[in-house]
Symmetry: C2
Subunit: 217 residues, 2 copies
């Protein structure tokens, strides 16, 4: 009973949540069918890429018709495990951390921030976005079943915190600090580096002028 088909390319996997969200929108708008072309315009991914992506999961659509929204939705729900919620811990309740806490992922998502931690005693005990803030030194006791952490601490604390998280059983970290943390091979880290993103955008702006007609991810 493995839901896994053959391995999906990573590039495809990264687009799945995006597809899911949009299909979800369509569904709540009461739309019954959708073509790869419509989807393409909405999510800004080439329609052939969408068809290819979907095809890794088998034939989800009907020729001459498109995709049935209801079916697509229930398919992705299963595939993305939307039914079981993944509990997440957030480390560092600064501005960025607060932004996450207020984001309310659970709405369209299978992820929920269960608990947040901060080193600043003034923040401990408060509640942000419905999530309790605990002191960072207590966390070893409070994240026993948590495998995913969002790291929004100052960058000099990043490596140390990562090690403590891993020690406590975390195996996936979304790292928003500029520090590139070093982790054992069984731990997955995704870096999102705001300064780098902004600089890269500026670099593209200056060195890769868009000609009319050239489009963009």
């Amino acid at each position: 009973m493995d839901t896994e088909p053959t391995k999906i390319p990573q590039a495809t996997a990264k687009r799945l949540p995006l597809y899911y969200r949009f299909i979800n929108n369509l569904h709540s708008q009461g739309k019954l069918r959708v073509s790869s072309k419509e989807l393409s315009e909405a999510v800004k991914v080439d329609s052939a890429t969408i068809r290819r992506d979907f095809s890794y999961f088998g034939a989800l659509g009907k020729k001459g018709y498109g995709y049935n929204v209801e079916y697509l939705l229930s398919f992705f729900r299963k595939t993305l495990d939307q039914d079981e919620t993944t509990e997440v811990a957030l480390i560092g309740v600064g501005n960025l951390g607060t932004a996450f806490l207020n984001y309310n992922f659970t709405k369209n998502n299978n992820t929920r921030i269960q608990v947040a931690f901060d080193a600043d005693k003034r923040r401990v005990g408060t509640e942000v976005g419905g999530v309790k803030v605990e002191h960072i030194d207590d966390f070893e006791n409070k994240i026993e079943n948590i495998k995913v952490a969002i790291l929004t601490v100052p960058s000099n604390a990043a490596q140390g915190m990562a090690e403590r998280l891993i020690e406590a059983g975390v195996t996936a970290i979304l790292n928003f600090t500029p520090a590139r943390i070093t982790v054992p091979p069984h731990v997955r880290v995704h870096h999102i580096d705001l300064a780098v993103e902004l600089q890269a955008l500026v670099y593209f702006l200056k060195h890769y002028p868009l000609e009319d007609g050239e489009e963009e991810e």
Copy 2:
């Protein structure tokens, strides 16, 4: 006098700011030389990839020696236009926007948030992270020379704001809203979608177990 060599691959261009920051660190630590191997360990990019990346700009290193930090730094400073500051506008001073304003990009960066805008009158007139907050309806007058905007507004406002920004002359947008905005071909948009990033991480966690020895970007 074109600083442009032949076109650099996009994947390389996205790594340049990362390299720059790290080389900058080395320099302020007083380090004189660095090898692609050391750099690789620090930024978590394969050393062959680093050598390849650097080689697009010509021969920056010396065989048997490595790279001279001073030289590398001054080279990247030029290449990434670190000398001229790019002015940026920030739209939407919520938690995420505030996080950006407090980030202080100028420190290691050639980008500076010059002005921020918000629709909430209570925020207008305040200063966040040293940046004045203006009312959003005034912005057409105040961003005449600004080409880059960070969009951290609620997602239902994203498309409309994007259009106003473009109308006012913006040609690059860093979009943090979940909305995939539609823009004319001469405008560059980079999407950073926090919920998608988190979901993708969870998907990888569940479906792509890391074997020992497998490493990760």
